[in-house]
Amino acid sequence: MPPFIQFILRRLFTAFVSLIAITMLLYAGVMLTPPEARARLYLPQVNGEGQASQALVQSVIQKHHLDEPYLVQYSYWVRSLLTGSWGYSPTLREYVLPALLRRTPVTLELALYSLLLLIPLGLVSGFIAGWRPNQRFDGLFRSLAYFGTSTPPFIFSMVLLAVFYVQLGWFAPERMDVTTQLELMRSGFVNYTGALTLDSLLNRRFDVFLLALRHLAMPIMTLSIFYWATLGRVTRAAVFGQRNQEYIIAARARGIPERRLMWRHALRAILAPTLTTMAISASSIVTSSFVVEIIFVLPGVSQVIVKAMRGLPDAPASLGFAVYSVMMVISLMFILDVLQAILDPRVRDEVLKA
């Protein structure tokens, strides 16, 4: 078996272990509530308003073994998760899993474009700043990055809205305006993926593509600037320590051009600490993208909790959301780890050795 596949398999196994651990913790939280309350997780769609009858609750408790020990209950719960029955949410008026899946493309669009924008920008700008510290670019970078890390995204988003939406009218919040939505429905626009930027290209509607970008610009900027600044600062610190290492001095003495030295030798060496930082803050990236979605009224995954929190308690939706967002974080960590293994020669060699 090729070593890289081995690495992927081992990494998948750790992801799986994390998932087991976190779902066990989640279900331990659920266990704090009495069985009658836990029965809500499995209550079927009830017609009309009103509470489920006592008999129904008892039968649900019986059927899903809700009065048995923790591990038994946990295994039954996992079984129901695996078979795709994540419960019915009374506030959303639909089943939880389809509700989450339907909204995923919007969140993915936002997170993917932001990461594609901020990782290269953060690495390159932090790298240049750290390679020649205390120069003009470094000063500019440090003040911008400091501003970026200390401004909370929700405040930054208000400034963006004031400037780019109200004053200039370049960008807009929400996913699309109502007229476009009606026009698309009438003109037979096919939703292949659910991500508007991709769908518009597949439908050969470049006007809709531009429109989608217009609506995505501000969320992407808000999400990118914060993590660009974080990543850039970490990169700068890593380069700062790496700059005068012996291997760099030796390579310079052998006459390797400065540019090649920077981008081929040093950059590779600093990828490990920087991408690890990103992987560790994966959960904060996911949280921030939810926050950005809510502020700019994008109908992403976070819409589920926004709706579920308006009014009555909705246990299936919030538990489903928790499990789903943990899965998102774990996959993001996995992707960043694999990326790092591909790019960093040391990690790659270690993989080959182990």
Binding site: G29, L32, I295
Partner: protein, 327 residues
């Protein structure tokens, strides 16, 4: 100790951080003197005019920083919000600090398979987005209260939950009503870095000679953890906790702003005045007293604690020298 103090006072950034944190501390402690509440004050919100008047008024004698729609005094909410922020931030930081360092120390001291398992659990917590945790805990509280016979609503307009019992609530329900799910979930999701740092320190320290000597003299594990390991591992953990104070208050304000609870007065100010934050023509400064005061308060609170954390990190780092190149 003197060397540490000299390192700390040698940079103006540390002074700025200290000054900001002190300002907020004074505002928090002296809130009743700086801005006395009147009879129409609920929490951090003081009404100074007719509540039906939905136009925000610029600064006046009565309200130094103007009013929100509904005539809520901005200045009062900023000062009393500092008290809330301080209590909230310090509770999260201290909670995370105590739990994290205990977890890390015990796990590192135990070593071997136990250490592996405990650190795996800490890693599992890292994969949990705080926002999902907030919602999840809030729902658990809601469901528990409903199963005790009470009614629970989450009301985004009052930034919190409302509980009604048709009879005297049982003590456990009262306890649940008093707990703050956002506070608990922020503690639950910020102790892991502290645990990890303490853990690494403990593992490296465990095999050093003075610990071995202590063992040979018959010191028990509790004594060793308490007397030797924690004091040595505590510096970096304090730095992380100081930064947590600022970041947790920012996260709390964010959660309040997007309407998922948290009850941060600063976040609520922005959210209550949301129709006026951006004035006509996209001018953020047309009704500046709605946008600027809470924004600056949140921003400076975060910056202050971060600078203080950076300064402490340098001062507590035994390898730092006084005139080193600032990074």
């Amino acid at each position: 100790m003197r060397r540490r103090r000299r390192i700390f006072i040698s940079r103006w950034q540390n002074w700025l951080g200290l000054a900001l944190v002190l300002t907020f501390t004074i505002a928090a402690l002296a809130a009743p003197q700086i801005s006395p509440p009147n009879e129409r004050t609920v929490g951090a919100f003081k009404k100074v005019g007719r509540s039906s008047d939905m136009t925000p008024h610029p600064p006046s004698e009565e309200a130094i920083l103007g009013t929100l729609p509904g005539q809520t005094d901005v200045f009062h909410a900023i000062i009393w919000g500092a008290r809330d922020a301080m209590i909230f931030g310090l509770s999260v930081a201290i909670g995370a600090f105590i739990f994290g360092s205990l977890f890390g120390a015990v796990s590192g001291y135990a070593g071997g398979a136990v250490n592996n398992l405990m650190m795996r659990i800490a890693d599992a917590f890292l994969t949990f987005p705080a926002l999902a945790g907030v919602v999840f805990l809030q729902q658990i509280v809601a469901v528990t209260i409903e199963s005790m016979g009470g009614s629970y609503w989450f009301n985004p307009d009052t930034y919190g939950d409302m509980v009604y019992f048709p009879f005297t609530p049982p003590p456990f329900a009262v306890f649940l009503m008093k707990t703050n799910p956002v506070l608990i979930s922020l503690i639950l999701f910020s102790w892991m870095p502290i645990a990890r740092i303490v853990n690494t320190q403990v593992i490296t320290l465990k095999n050093t000679e003075f610990i071995q000597a202590g063992r040979a003299l018959g010191a028990g594990p509790v004594w060793i953890i308490h007397r030797h390991l924690l004091p040595n591992a505590i510096g970096p953990a304090i730095v992380l906790a100081a930064r947590d104070v600022g970041s947790s208050v920012i996260l709390q304000a964010t959660i309040t702003f997007i309407g998922l609870g948290g009850a941060s007065p600063w976040g609520a100010l922005l959210s209550l005045g949301r129709n006026w934050v951006i004035g006509p023509g996209g001018n953020l400064l047309a009704t500046w007293w709605i946008f600027l005061p809470p924004t600056l308060a949140i921003l400076l609170f975060g910056v202050g604690w971060n600078l203080l954390g950076d300064g402490l990190a340098e001062a507590l780092d035994p390898t730092a020298s006084i005139n080193q190149n600032p990074t």
